[in-house]
């Protein structure tokens, strides 16, 4: 490991004095390329990253408050979307992929999934009222059996985005070698590999800029959905020991983060969008920005990662993925994916992004501006997330 050149406390002092040098991950690519990692480490304090993409393992933990006679809800719905109510009294969790209870799903294939948990979350952030329905079996201490009322985000006593798995470090590129359209969570895939759909924000992605999660851990303060959020540990399916290329970038989907953030404190529905994925289901597009402190030359090197340094595995969602076959058809760079075309088995395939690069960049720029204004200080992670 390289000699530390500065600490997070020193960076925060510079931010408070308005002297910190903040670059977006895109700007850092050019700086490291032109001046080298040693000079970049001296010059730059923080690199801001960003990503805006559907992240299906997301949801809202909420408390809707008692209305005497009090109740211990056992079944809860928001706008007819079922919530998980196996918690205390009036606590419940709404998952973003939960469809409305009367949704026809895939009975008429491909289903439209027009409204689900993610849409409820977006509606609440838009200030819209949603219908809360709760049923209870009744106890001596909690006699109420039923509650049916309209609530807004302001009416809820507590509402946190609580996302068990976000910010996947790398992801599959999806193609379909079959003979019929495959409607997947990676979007519709035309037969005969006529499109290749890819995700992540490449050189802007948080976990490509800190590939060994040296600075991102439990307690890292982040930009989440326009407000403030926190990393609260490794996400589900986090892979601590992925195969990597020579500069440490994982070759397949690997690291993940668990995030939380207060929906009542500055979140903006522009960055938390309910989405409908044709033939697949509902989800939530989440905007995340993570600041990376440039503590030493190694961190300057890592944040200097460019689209050309990142490769992603192409997999067949027409057959292999369903069957659990771990077969990689090609390993194009993110730069090639962005060019609009890649080669898979000698065939030229048109590439289609699912993560908004434009909005991911905007997040990195917004976080940069927030730090420059002294409104966002960095935090020290309290526990590391294993990544080797």
């Amino acid at each position: 490991m390289a000699q530390p050149t500065k600490t997070i406390a020193e960076i925060n002092q510079r931010i408070k004095k308005g002297k910190a040098v903040i670059l977006t991950a895109e700007e850092m690519v050019d700086l490291v390329r032109s001046k080298g990692k040693t000079a970049a480490a001296k010059e730059v304090d923080v690199v801001t990253t960003g990503t805006f993409s559907p992240m299906c393992s997301s949801g809202m933990l909420f408390n809707f408050g008692q209305e005497p006679p009090v109740m211990k809800a056992s079944q809860v719905w928001l706008n007819d979307v079922p919530c998980y109510a196996g918690l205390a009294a009036v606590d419940a969790y709404l998952g973003c992929t939960e469809p409305r209870s009367d949704d026809p799903l895939n009975k008429v294939h491909p289903g439209r999934f027009t409204y689900g948990g993610g849409h409820v979350i977006e509606d609440l952030l838009r200030g819209k009222a949603v219908r809360l329905k709760a049923l209870a079996y009744g106890t001596d201490c909690y006699p109420r059996r039923e509650l049916d009322k309209s609530v807004t985000l302001a009416d809820l006593k507590y509402a946190q985005l609580l996302n068990p798995r976000n910010c996947y470090q790398s992801y599959n590129v999806a193609v379909n070698t079959g003979s019929a359209v495959a409607y997947t969570y990676m979007g519709p895939l035309k037969p005969g590999m006529r499109n290749a759909n890819y995700a992540t924000a490449g050189q802007l992605s948080p976990l490509f800029n800190d590939p060994y999660l040296r600075t991102i851990g439990l307690g890292t303060k982040i930009w989440l959905g326009g407000g403030t959020g926190w990393v609260i540990g490794a996400g589900t399916q986090h892979n601590p020991k992925p195969a990597r290329n020579e500069r440490g970038i994982p070759l397949t989907a690997s690291g993940t983060l668990m995030l939380k953030g207060d929906m009542k404190a500055g979140m903006d529905p522009k960055w938390v969008r309910g989405v409908s994925i044709l033939g697949y289901g509902c989800s939530l597009s989440v905007g995340v920005g993570i600041p990376i402190p440039i503590l030493d030359e190694d961190m300057a090197f890592f944040t200097g990662v460019s689209d050309a340094d990142i490769t992603m595995p192409v997999r067949d969602y027409g057959h292999d993925y369903q069957a659990g076959i771990n077969n990689v058809l090609a390993q194009p760079t993110f730069e090639e994916l962005k060019s609009g075309e890649i080669k898979v088995n000698e065939q030229t395939v048109r590439t289609v992004p699912l993560t908004s690069y434009a909005l991911s960049l905007e997040i990195a720029q917004l976080l940069k501006a927030k730090i420059e204004r002294g409104e966002f200080l960095l935090t020290e992670a309290q526990e590391r997330i294993v990544s080797e």
Partner: protein, 142 residues
């Protein structure tokens, strides 16, 4: 005289949908067209989407001819709308847009919509995750 290409939506009332007026524009104005969609409802209301190629004057005369015969004409671009405030610029729609009316601008990484190229197939309406594409037409199939 300029050769032009135009995509139009024609709607026919029950009184006009039974009459063969469209074929006349080939004979009378020497136009070439491609029928992208044609449909008559059980109530005999008809609709058709045509991609027309020909001299500018001839196309314009043919449009007048159709109007005189009771056909309502709307440029297809006006039948499809992109809600800029809602679009997340992800790019999913671009996978299915065959005429490439929807494309990702590689400089700004924003999704742009060119109504001139649109053939109103409606696939984007179906696939857009945030329903940012709206149409007054029936949706297509992949």
């Amino acid at each position: 005289m300029n050769e032009i290409r135009k995509i139009v939506h024609l709607s026919f009332s029950p009184e006009t949908s039974g009459k063969p007026v469209v074929c006349n524009i080939i004979k009378l104005y020497d136009l070439c067209f491609n029928i992208l969609k044609a449909h008559i409802t059980p109530r005999e209301v008809g609709e058709m989407i045509l991609e027309i190629n020909g001299l500018e004057k001839a196309v314009s005369d043919a449009m007048d001819y159709l109007k005189e015969h009771g056909v309502k004409i709307t440029p297809v671009g006006q039948k499809i709308r992109k809600d800029e405030a809602s679009c997340m610029h992800c790019g999913v729609c671009t996978a299915l847009c065959r005429p490439r009316a929807l494309s990702v601008d590689r400089a700004t990484w924003k999704v742009t919509f060119d109504p001139e190229k649109c053939v109103a197939c409606g696939l984007c309406v179906k696939v857009c995750p945030v329903k940012a594409m709206e149409t007054q037409l029936e949706n297509g199939t992949i």
